[in-house]
């Protein structure tokens, strides 16, 4: 007797749990040949709200962890992804990739996670500064995470685009709420399973599936989202985000990079959602010593 294949239910990822959308709605993305890929949660505003609550809750402890520990956890994500290479390759092929390209994409995703894992405890040294000032102050500037970051992932990529926008955000100590690609959402949900089985605390990354058109305004105007990364490639949506952002003057960062390119990784993606904090610390004036600070 032929075996009946057990199909996976693609659910969303909020606070370390895999709920269905509270709205009960779903949609069906299709592959290039017009075949349905899966029934996927069509997330609502309330799902976004719940995800932001989870991200806010996770922010305190994630941002206060030592950078080295964040690095270890990010590296662990890469380890878990490596173990699931074949699953991701199969899923990418299902969504229209060739086997060779799919393997390349998964390899690049793993390598990119390791790349940002490495930067966790290094970027502050590279970008911080002790500033020369003309008074008796020790004056220094250093980066701190912005807070909860909304991410609208690239639409044209299922895995590498998603990984490329999530990793720099969490490497820097932020937590995030991600809306996956509308037509290529499968790897996002499977990547959530990877995150869940690594040591990443629940709520640090929350992944929703659904339509950008429905949620873009809420991403922009939500008072508890501190920055939004937009990589969806729709200028109208980028403008809508900017308009919504005025209510709490959140930072909007727009990416148009081709993340499938192996060179599209650098620590500036981390500093894009960091706040540069400058501290003036009074010190004894060292009697005109030839010190610049």
């Amino acid at each position: 007797m032929e075996r009946l294949e057990i199909l996976k239910t693609y659910k969303i990822y909020i606070g370390g749990q895999f709920p269905r959308t509270e709205s009960g709605r779903y949609y069906t993305p299709f592959d290039k040949k017009g075949q349905p890929l899966a029934n996927v949660c069509l997330s609502s505003r309330k799902d976004l709200r719940n995800a932001v609550v989870a991200a806010r809750k996770a922010f305190g402890s994630w941002s206060e962890r030592s950078a080295f520990n964040r690095s270890q956890i990010c590296y662990r994500i890469a380890e878990m992804l490596e173990g699931r290479r074949d699953q991701f390759i199969a899923e990418l092929v299902k969504q229209g990739s060739t086997t060779t390209k799919a393997a390349q994409e998964v390899n690049l995703a793993i390598d990119r996670i390791v790349y940002y894992a490495g930067w966790c405890d290094k970027f502050t040294q590279v970008f911080s500064a002790v500033n020369p000032v003309a008074s008796s102050h020790f004056n220094f500037s250093t980066y701190e995470p912005t807070g909860v970051v909304g991410i609208l992932a690239p639409q044209d990529s299922s895995l590498i685009g998603l990984v490329s926008v999530i990793m720099p955000v969490i490497a820097g100590g932020n937590t995030c709420v991600v809306l996956a690609s509308e037509q290529l959402p499968l790897c996002a949900v499977t990547f959530a399973e990877v995150l869940n089985s690594s040591d990443l605390p629940g709520g640090v990354v929350n992944i929703l599936t659904g339509k950008e058109t429905e949620l873009v305004d809420q991403f922009g105007s939500h008072m508890d989202i501190n920055a939004v990364i937009y990589a969806g490639g729709n200028t109208d949506h980028a403008t809508a985000l900017e308009a919504g952002a005025v209510v709490n003057v959140k930072r909007i960062v727009v990416y148009t990079h081709n993340f499938a390119d192996a060179t599209q990784e650098n620590p500036y993606f981390i500093t894009d959602v960091q706040e540069l904090k400058t501290t003036w610390h009074p010190i004894e004036h060292v009697g005109g010593a030839t010190s610049s600070y």
């Binding site: 976004l48 806010r56 105007s221 008072m223 508890d224 209510v247 709490n248």
Partner: protein, 306 residues
């Protein structure tokens, strides 16, 4: 506003009705399916604010913290004019004078916990002194705890007499009796304790101290509301209800209001007869109100610290 008194003719509390736990759970689940939108939701949320006993009951309470809380109770969110004040500020007896001064003539009441809160493990004389102290310093309401140990040991007379004695010490202050349902183990016991408290003179029955989990579950609150209903039918005296502890979001608060309306009716839907004991509920309700007003989801960063 009618007040309760210690009743002369009391039933045998051993024969208090038993509670159908499965039935209560099903009934409670129904209350959570009501859809409350827009205007009704706004009205409900404002009602919730006006029913809150804003509470701080910590060893680290200072006069400054109490003054801050009293200010908050009167100015919940000044960016949005037209909001009600909370019903009362709930503090320890040592903070009553400070709180009374801070609320002035704003109409916000001062509730004081009493009788060796939260354990209630102290001699009777101390409990009475505790209560008199709070009343003398201006407490409008007294939140006493029952002796759960005596209750569980079956000494219902002791519990009854104690409540009656505290009722006498309260004078004009209204008496809320905390059953600490998290320690009573079953809904049957909750029902029995409610009956004892009401016949002994409670003006309010209250679920919990907030120090024990579980606190104000809807099942427990529903059981107590049913006891209030039966008491009202029998004696004609209204008794108020105060769930306390664990109600920290608007949705749960609205579910509670639905439950009160469908169990006791509109007469109980005001802060003379229904209160929420809470410390962090107010901010969540305020955020919901601002969400309704502006259309934007809110952030705790823009509201006062609890």
């Amino acid at each position: 506003m009618t007040t309760n008194k210690t009743h002369k003719n009391v039933p045998d509390f051993r024969l208090s009705p038993t509670v159908d736990k499965v039935g209560v759970e099903e009934r409670v689940a129904r209350f959570q399916t009501r859809s409350i939108k827009n205007e009704a939701k706004m009205q409900g949320l404002k009602m919730v604010l006006n029913m809150i006993d804003l509470t701080t009951l910590e060893g680290k309470d200072t006069p400054g913290k109490v003054r801050q809380l009293c200010y908050k109770g009167q100015h919940l969110h000044d960016l949005h004019p037209g909001l009600p004040t909370v019903a009362a500020i709930c503090v320890y007896p040592s903070m009553v004078a400070e709180a009374k001064k801070a609320v002035g003539d704003s109409g916000v009441k001062i509730a004081s916990v009493s009788t060796a809160f939260p354990s209630g493990q102290a001699p009777m004389s101390i409990k009475i002194t505790d209560t008199l102290y709070a009343v003398e310093h201006g407490a409008d309401e007294i939140d006493m705890v029952i002796s759960r140990g005596k209750f569980l040991a079956g000494d219902y007379n002791f519990v009854f007499d104690e409540i009656a004695a505290i009722k006498e010490a309260c004078g004009k202050a209204r008496l809320k009796v905390i059953l600490e349902t998290g320690e009573l183990a079953s809904l049957d016991q909750v029902r029995r304790a409610s009956d004892i408290a009401m016949y002994a003179g409670a003006d309010f029955i209250k679920t919990s101290t907030g120090k024990i989990q579980p606190a104000a579950t809807m099942q427990v609150t529903y059981t107590m509301l049913c006891a209030i209903k039966d008491f009202y039918r029998t004696t004609g005296v209204k008794v108020g209800m105060k769930p306390a502890g664990g109600i920290s979001n608007s949705k749960l608060a609205l579910h509670n209001l639905v439950m009160v309306k469908e169990t006791l009716g509109n007469d109980w839907l005001n802060n003379n007869w229904f209160r929420f004991g809470a410390s962090s509920l107010a901010n969540d309700v305020l955020m919901q109100i601002m969400k309704q007003e502006t259309g934007h989801y809110q952030s705790a960063d823009y509201f006062s610290i609890d």
